[in-house]
Point group: C2
Chain length 415, copies 2
């Protein structure tokens, strides 16, 4: 894409009402724009990034056998009454139509997915199965804040699995956990698996996937020697025993527990038989009896991840996108050499390399500053100086050194 | 994908409360499931189809220079008050948060896109520009019906263009119209361009793109000789003169006007300067004066198109998907020959040919009936009979004859 045609421009200053780095940088770089607290527009660069994160998550969900569907956002009140959610979930947005019919706006989809799946899985041989969607959700948050980290309207992957018994659920939970850790790794993040409380209804322990960041809203304790990690909410009573800041890890009995702020980028809930029972939708087991399925719920915050990645990976000049999710791989800058640069641009496109081409008639300083702020992984500069040195200047956003490469070697250097 | 793993099954009978062919066939074939009137789940096959239609529309919007963005669904009340929409648009869903803050649910996005774009287009040199999104919308419909043709929650492409003057808008309108006709053609439809009234606020004429179908809600008159077509709502006063059923066409003065039911699959509105004025957001013209932009709005109903295509292209056995938007190109049926079929399946996938493989342990009759109902363009049968005849049986869904081709010629025959 040619930058001269992009309708967004970078901004020198962040909006005064944005306090977190992700909101400041993403807004300044033209990825997002706030419509109101917790509700953002995704501009061309932001939408491309969101789609990249979505695709990484989709690939890993498909790989473990998840079937992608799309469920509505407008839900009938009756479904939420059946699960007691209508009166008990305070973040549930409620709508009344002009004929006084009431709806909920989806903030989780057990109320829709349970009848959808269980009407088709009448028999044990239909189980296990897992369906997922990547879709928008709504929460009536009192204090939406921290940019993309806590929204009223946000983009999520939510998967639901259905099992004949607990052992089968436990097996799938391990598969899903492995897939989650793989996703976060592909996105350039290290996530800790954290014990947490079970949410609104479940009495069971749930697991959260936490990324350490000061912009996060969660308060965790983690062991400096082993994988033990716990949300401080439930630290007094973890499955490994009592956990306390600066004391010995209850799991490995060797490391020390550190306290940190973190952001929850994924979670897994063991829903037990609650939803099957609420809708009275069971299956016929092999022994002929009627049973209710054990269900699991697995979330990943796609738009939140975009914010968390910016919180974790930036410097004082701007964002530093990981290659897996960058909106474009290359930022091609022409410093007064548009004829030469245009040819390189065409060649990159011909080779299916995603490129943002700064063809604008502005100063070199402005182009460099924009490239650093937007944060694409590779910068390619075509200037009188580079041409005299025999080619174009290639620099990684994450490194300070650049090198001059020959024009004919560009593709080779980028693949 | 292997059909044995698909969690949806086909159904012999349509739900009693669905009166239109699109809802009946799409539900029976496992593409969609109704959650409530006008609100549907998209199951794996349905979601794949929706994404294909979306992609055709995206490609043509990008080709005419549209920049893709994503705007929120939750809108601040203030924006809708500025345009008088809050009190005047009866299909606008309104929400109150638990702190009594009011929001609208997006049913069109002028209220969001105007400030978003015009804060960046302060100068005539920034114009023209066009942004679009492909996103979900909501309408508080009193009588949501006709399956995917009229929903409370539906998937749409909406583009907005901004111009310095009327002449520039008129030029772009012609470009957009050509792109629209190309899109409908790629989707296997013939759309008529129809004069209609200008919608809620605009006093200007708008254009609707109509596909003739008895399931449609619009009532049109069209000339049997020329392109003249008009919505009967405004037939007494079209730009070509008075139009009346069975009378002479006011445009070509030769053809006769026929009356038909039709469904609106796209529309174009000349919004004039209304929204720039409502938000007091203008641009500085070349002569130094402040001007308000001429805006255009261009919609295409993506989920509605899925319904319209099924209404138009089906037979008594099921759906007949056009190749451009079919969820899979090939339906591979194994009649007791899974070992042989599996190899063909692997080879098709290796060649990037999208295939649904019926590997289930059910009768040939059931497999044939399912293939006809689901409606993929090509059916490939591997049976004892076909192998004896020297290969596999290939049949187009739209034709009655089949032919036996050699296994090694499959890819060649499908590309």
């Amino acid at each position: 894409m040619k930058q001269s045609q992009l309708f967004t421009k970078t901004e020198r200053f962040a909006p005064k009402d944005e306090e977190t780095k992700n909101a400041q940088l993403l807004t300044r770089a033209g990825f997002i724009e706030k419509l109101m607290a917790g509700v953002y527009n995704y501009l061309p660069l932001g939408l491309l990034t969101l789609r990249k994160i979505e695709q990484v998550v989709r690939e890993e969900m498909n790989r473990i056998g998840g079937q992608e569907i799309l469920m509505p956002m407008l839900h009938p009140k009756e479904n939420w009454e059946k699960t007691q959610g209508w009166n008990n979930i305070d973040v549930l947005f409620k709508i009344k139509s002009r004929t006084e019919k009431e709806y909920a706006l989806g903030q989780s989809e057990e109320e829709v997915v349970t009848p959808l799946v269980m009407r088709r899985a009448r028999n044990e041989k239909n189980l296990p199965l897992a369906v997922y969607q990547i879709h928008w959700k709504f929460r009536d948050e009192l204090r939406a804040k921290s940019g993309l980290l806590r929204g009223k309207e946000f983009f999520m992957k939510d998967m639901y699995s259905f099992h004949a018994d607990q052992a089968d659920f436990d097996k799938f939970y391990e598969i899903a956990k492995t897939a989650y850790l793989k996703i976060f790794k592909r996105l350039g993040l290290v996530a800790k698996v954290t014990e947490a409380s079970g949410g609104s209804f479940s009495q069971k322990i749930s697991y959260e996937f936490m990324v350490l960041t000061d912009a996060g809203e969660d308060d965790i304790l983690y062991c400096d020697k082993c994988v033990f990690c716990v949300n401080r909410e439930i630290a007094p009573s973890t499955s490994s025993g009592r956990a306390k800041e600066n004391e010995t890890c209850p799991k490995c009995k060797q490391g020390k527990l550190n306290r940190a702020k973190a952001s929850e980028v994924g979670n897994v809930f063991d829903l037990g038989q609650k939803y099957g029972k609420d809708f009275d939708l069971g299956f016929t087991a092999r022994d002929g009896t009627k049973k209710f399925p054990i269900m699991g719920c697995y979330g990943i915050g796609i738009s939140r991840l975009m914010g968390v990645i910016v919180e974790k990976i930036h410097d004082d000049k701007g964002i530093v996108w990981p290659e897996a999710i960058t909106p474009f791989k290359i930022h091609l800058l022409s410093l007064g050499q548009n004829e030469r640069a245009e040819k390189i641009y065409d060649n990159l496109i011909k080779n299916n390399i995603e490129v943002l081409y700064d063809d604008r008639n502005i100063s070199a300083g402005e182009k460099f500053a924009d490239a650093d702020l937007i944060g694409l992984p590779y910068r390619l500069v075509v200037s009188e100086k580079s041409l005299k040195a025999g080619g174009v200047e290639l620099k990684r956003r994450s490194e300070s050194k650049s090198k001059v490469i020959k024009e004919k070697d560009i593709i080779k250097n980028l693949k």
